[in-house]
Structure formats: C-alpha cells, structure tokens
Amino acid sequence: MSLTLLLFLILGVLSIASAIVTISSRNPVVSAMALVLHFFMLSGLYLTLQAQFVAVMQILVYAGAIMVLVVFVIMLLNLGDEKKLSEKWNIRRIVAILFAFVLAIQFISIYITNLPDAAFIPESAAFNGTVQAIGTDLFTNYLVQFEAIAVLLLAAIVGALLLAKRKIT
C-alpha cells in the first residue's frame, strides 16, 4: 500500500465522518467545528493531489475566516431551543429525499462503469498546483474574469458598509 493511498483512505473516511456530523448534529457549535475539521481533511486531500495552493487557501479562507465568522454569529445569537428549528414532513423534504436518491444512483452507476484502479496524477500536477502557476494563469488567461470578480467584491464591500452604517430608526 502506498503512502498516498493510505493518506487518501484516512483523510477520506475522516472527511465523510465529519461531514455527517456537520449535518446531523443538534448542537450548532458541534456542527460548525465538525465543518472546520472537514475543511482540514479536504485540504489534506488536495495535498495528496499536489494542489498546494488550493490546500492552504482552503484552510486560510474557509476554516480561518468564514468559519470563524459563522462561529462568532452562533455564539452571539445563542440559539437556545433547537427543537423549534426541526422541520416536519413536508413536500420539500420528500423532493429532497427523491433528489438524494437520484444522486446516489448516479454515483453508484459511475463507480460500477469505470472502477478507479489507481489514482492517476499527471506529471504536470506538481507544477500546476504551485502559487506561481496559478498566479501566471490568473494574470494572463483569466485576467478579465479576475478583474470582474475584484469589482464585484468591491461592490459587495461597499454594500456591506452601507448596510452597517445605516441608522436604525
């Protein structure tokens, strides 16, 4: 058994387990922390695929910034009675289960038709995952998209400031 496969198995099992805890836990803080663990496991999986930059960004942005904000909000709101939040059987739930079933069938059929025998990582992956390669791509091939996203984010920041500065009457 190679080290990559071993790491993949450990990280894969832990990431699925933490994802299940995230959606099934009644306690919002447990849920949030399980999601943080999930992000760590995902970042480990990216590392086994040689995607260093994506791996670190996963932790820096998702675990380090977005989830901190989520935990912050959970603690400030202090949701007390979680039982009130639980949903009853309704049409939405039935449709959701139906779609989940379809998705499961798709996954199984893909797995049956082409069994993955070995993880295939192309030779170029080691370079493509570096910050240099991603930076070069961002500022040459995808420059317009990159700048467009920058403008969009700026607009979002201005919007957030406007909402925060509004006087409450």
Partner: protein, 344 residues
Amino acid sequence: MPEIGWILVEAGVKAVFIVILILSAAAVSVYAERRVSAIIQLRLGPNRVGPFGLLQPIADVFKLFWKEDVVPKAADMGFHRLAPVISLGIAIAVYAVIPFAHYIEIGGTKYYFGIAPNVNIGLLYILAMTSVSVYGITLAGWSSNNKYSLFGGLRSSAQMISYELSMGLSLIGVLMITGTLSLNEIVLQQSGWGWNVFVQPLGFIIFLVSSFAETNRTPFDLPEAEPELVGGFNTEYSGMKFGMFFLAEYANMATASAFIVLVYFGGWQIPFDIGLGAGSIALALVQFAWFLAKVIFFILFFIWVRWTVPRFRYDQLMNLGWKVLLPLAILNIVITGVWIMIFG
C-alpha cells in the same frame, strides 16, 4: 515503503526535538518575562528556586500539574477540554515549516534543519495556522459558560480577524521582492546584510504591530484585560489546562519572533564568512545559534514592550487596525510595485 518509513522516522525525530525546544523555550521565556518585568519595575523577581531563580519554571509546572482541575457545572465539557489542546497544538504545528539552520550533509544526503522548510507554501501555511488559532480562544470563552470568558473570546476573535488582514498584506511586499513562498528560499535571498527589513521598513513595522495583536500581547491584550474581564477567556480554567494556554501564549510569541527573524532579519544566514564549509555540522550549529540569538532578542523585545506600553482602548484598537494599518499595508504594496517597475 522502506523509503517512506525513513521519511517518517526522520520527520518524527525532528518533531520530537522541535516540541522539546518549543516547550523549553516557552518555560524559559516565562522566567525571562518575570525577571525582566521585575527589573523594569525595580523589583527582584523570582530568585529563590535554584541559582538566580532559574528553576522557577519547573516549580511552576509542578504546581500546575498538582492543582485541582475545576470545571464549571454549566460548561460544555467536550469543548472546554478541547480548547487548550487546539491552542497549544496549533502553536506547535506552525514549526513544521520553520527552518532553524540550513542543512548538514552526511554521505551525500542533505538533512535540513526543520521538518519541511523547503515547501513552496511555507509562508501561507504559517498565515493559515495563525488564522485558525483563534478557535482555541473562542471555544474556551464560549464553552466556559461565563460572560467574562465569552467577552474575552469574542474580543479575541474580532481582534485576530482584523489584524490578520494587515499582517497578510504587509507580507505581500516581501513576496513581490523575493518571488517565493518558501521560507528557506526567502532566507537564502537575504545573504550578507541584505535583510528585507532594509527594503521593506514600512511592511516590517506593520507586521510587527500586527504580530503583537495576533499573539494577544500588551498593548493588544484586551482578550485577557484583568480589570474588566477577570481573566478573560481563561477565567474558568485551572491546573494544567490553564498551563496549556499559558504555554501556547509563549509558544506563539516565540513563533512570531522566529517569523519576524526569518522574513525580515535574514533568518539563519550569517552575514560574514566564518570559514566553515557548507553542509558541515559546525556551520549548521553556528547558524542555529545565530538564528536563536535573534529570536531571543525579539522575545525580549516583546517582553519589554509589554511592561512599558499601556493597553489600548477597544475602539482605538479597531481604529488602528482598520484605519491605519490596513491602508498603510496597501500603500506599501503600491510603493513596492512602483519600485519594482522602475528599478526591478
């Protein structure tokens, strides 16, 4: 497989050494903190245990081990136990990418001083770990089920999120000049006296101030301001759990010092030729000592600032972070860019 086994053994041995080094460094800096604060306040400080009180940290640790571990009834047991582990664990995890010296060569193989000092994302890795370390404090505050702890935790999250931005942005100047994220490569480019602090003075000052805030040290120690918050996030902690927060704080201080030395003060590079061949054990040890000396200087600087500068008010802290440091950091990037465009 045997090769993988050797890699694991090498990493394991290095990890044990580094953990011992960090924990002893933390213990020594606790002693240094008490002695230096005593000198600054015209006192004597701890001088009873051992010669000059040098065994005081050991006595402290023994005391913490034997204390009763009190947990409030309404606390969230799991997270209350987990929080100090996260704090100390992350403080130690950062050292995976820190190079302590260059390398020693035995039989054609290079052994680097550090677990992974050459990874090309070292700098980002440290930033990622410092951004995650806020969980330890936040969870400690929340799980204690005590309003003072919660306030301490919330303040700390707000502070760390705010100062992370200017910290990351101040490093971009260095990245633009060196063109690499690998810490060993950044150190190699600062040979002689070509320290980054001379080319990035503004970035260095921003980084220094932000690292004071990130490590929750005075003048930014609002999360544990004793007159208003009892003890802050660790109010409800006792025994060795408190000890772990304590160690984590000093380990973070050592990390911040090491980071400053590596990025701005030439790391392990010796500025003059001392006539030892590259890869020899003697040279590596001299580099290690040189690096350590600079780190100790910055730890003493951290202590000195703590006992001379008063604490900020909360609004002053936020204003400094968002309205002063952040624009300055962006200005630093612009200046560096223009400089590289004209002279680069």
